[in-house]
């Protein structure tokens, strides 16, 4: 078992490239487990709070379809006595950040212990750089050893001092087989005249540019001006000749489902939810994007309680149930990509269909083809302004 894990670890490491292979990363892979707390944390309250305020994206946690409660949160309360005040008020990184930067920039607490932001948008790194995130109490998170190796040293938080992944997803291309031949790469999407006006591209810079850069043969994990310009101009051309119908968030789903779109740059999770067997999703042939929603503790949050919760979620059994749900108990799972090693083994017990779904538990081959966008580029004001002018004017 250990051998398998180590081999898998190394494979995944070697495959993802760029962000993952760093010297400390290789050291860690050769070592026994992932990051440990380096010299304990300073005086942290070791008492669990009565309530944990957790803000998350909508429909991003397990649900008991009968009672409408969240089994994993109920179990947490049973185990620790802490009630989780779970609010689904995040639906977009930019607007949520826009809302919390007000109080945070004035040194005020936002009354949350855990919030969840995506790593292929600038705001996660921004929270850390501005000092608006609390350091995790790693002593309270021994299960951090179960963190998937590919997630251990992201360039915005190299030692996982402030963040821990919640779920991941992939960005690729979906197409409707009744309207078009398979659209499997960027050339088809952006330059096939038969698809003119019938495709959409994501308005997220991190997603769109990653995919187009990969198609150009460039490395999106280390963006150069030239690579940026090549990719940008390629997309701009498609805008100018009306190939691209719209830049969308997840609102590509209705027109895709209805047949107004032949193909769309889209997120893996959504496609499974459309329930239309004519719509297929693939990682583009030259590579796709990987994004991860990360938990972090905003300034003023209760570090110890939040850390204990994170530890709970990184228990493979808990994660397995949360992820896959359990049709026998009428529990719907999250159905995104879990960051916890060992979750699949438990998921197989609860819901084999989901456990064997390659979009939820992707093979290492699939994972090798998806990349994380360069965090520095995400904060380059020039790139950002150029991108916004393209999609918004």
């Amino acid at each position: 078992m250990t051998d398998q894990l180590t081999r898998r670890q190394l494979l995944e490491r070697a495959a993802v490239g760029g962000a993952a292979i760093t010297f400390p990363g290789i050291l860690a892979a050769c070592g026994s487990s992932g990051s440990k707390a380096s010299g304990g944390t300073t005086s942290v309250e070791q008492k669990l709070a009565k309530t944990l305020n957790f803000s998350n994206w909508t429909l991003y946690i397990d649900v008991d379809n009968k009672t409408k409660s969240h089994p994993s949160l109920d179990a947490f309360k049973k185990k620790t006595g802490t009630d989780v005040n779970y609010v689904e008020d995040i639906n977009d990184n930019a607007s949520f950040f826009g809302k919390i930067q007000g109080p945070l920039s004035r040194g005020q607490s936002i009354n949350r212990d855990i919030i969840v932001l995506t790593d292929n948008d600038r705001y996660l790194g921004l929270m850390l750089r501005k000092g608006w995130a609390e350091k995790l109490d790693k002593a309270a998170i021994p299960n951090i050893k179960n963190l998937a190796p590919v997630q251990r040293h992201p360039n915005f938080d190299p030692n996982r001092d402030y963040t821990l992944p919640w779920q991941s997803g992939m960005t690729g291309i979906a197409y409707n087989d009744t309207l078009t031949d398979p659209v499997l790469n960027v050339t088809d999407l952006l330059e096939n005249p038969k698809l003119k006006g019938k495709i959409t591209v994501l308005n997220s810079m991190g997603d769109a540019m990653t995919i187009v850069m990969l198609a150009n043969g460039d490395d999106p994990t280390k963006v150069t001006d030239k690579a940026w310009n090549d990719a940008f101009n390629r997309i701009k051309k498609a805008v100018d000749n009306k190939q691209i119908r719209q830049f969308t968030g997840n609102d590509y789903a209705p027109p895709l489902a209805r047949g107004d779109l032949a193909a769309a740059m889209s997120w893996s999770g959504d496609i499974a939810q459309i329930g239309n067997k004519h719509i297929h999703w693939n990682v583009p042939t030259q590579g796709g994007a990987l994004w991860t929603d990360n938990m972090l503790i905003p300034k003023g949050g209760n570090v110890y309680t939040a850390s204990v919760y994170m530890n709970y979620v990184y228990d493979p059994k808990v994660q397995g149930l949360m992820e896959a749900g359990d049709p026998k108990r009428n529990i719907t799972g999250i159905y995104y990509i879990p960051p916890v090693i060992g979750a699949k083994a438990w998921a197989l017990k609860f819901n084999p269909a989901i456990a064997n779904n390659p979009l939820i538990f992707p093979s290492s081959e699939t994972l090798s083809k998806v990349k994380i966008f360069d965090n520095a580029a995400l904060n380059n004001q020039k790139y950002l302004t150029q991108w916004q002018n393209l999609i918004s004017g």
């Binding site: 119908r245 209805r258 004001q381 302004t385 918004s392």
Partner: protein, 288 residues
Amino acid sequence: MNVFHRHQGATPYLLLLPGVLFLSVFFVVPLGFLAYQSLESGNIDFGYAFTWQWSNYWDAIQNYRGEFIRSIEYAAIATFFALVASYPVAYWIAFRGGRWKNLLLLFIVAPFFVTYLIRTLAWETILSDHGFVVRTLQTLHLLGSNGRLLATGTAVVAGITYNFLPFMALPLYVSLEQIDARMIEAAEDLYASKWHAFWRVTFPLSLPGVVAGTLLTFIPAAGDFINAQLLGGPQNHMIGNVIQSKFLELTDYPAAAAMSFILMAGILVFVFLYARLVGTEQLTGTAA
């Protein structure tokens, strides 16, 4: 006929007090913060500082002139169509509604009870490329065989018009309902033509409603962003979308603030010119 009270004393100020006080605290003060912000410079990483950065304004006008103009354009067209579409209905409810008036008014605002997103999604279903509407238009050759309605400027204007119909219809109704039907009868006797009677008597009497509806539609429509975001393509975006992106994605709060003030100023200019056109009596009540 409006006559000013002769012995008004403190009455007007007392009437104004609660509302104006509320707005002063909860609108003017925030507006002050916004004005301060519009003259700042800096970025989210290193903070913002007040530096009398008038270039925020100048840059906004230079770089986004197209979007400003497009916003005024879309808003004006939408207001016009809203007026033309709503007037007959407001007339009908006012004069023929009888005891069903209130019910009919409710129907006008009914779409708002279903959140904006849901009713727009419903429209996207109705105006779908393969839907009944588009296919009919294609058969009638009003739309090219490959044409579509969604993700175009037309869809954006149609969306704005639809979503602002109540803002036009209700003030129109309010003003029309007041007109004494006997006046119209008398006018018809005088002019012997229903159309003449309408144009010479009814319409001028309903002008306050027309002005109110036009303002309540045009002003917010110019700053709208959501219709362009969901129904438009990249070439159809309005100034509201730019302000949105400056604020959220680019965290360029000074630029967003400056653009907002330019928009407000532009709208006020329009309102002023409009007041000139229709005569300030309709706008403010009586010659000041």
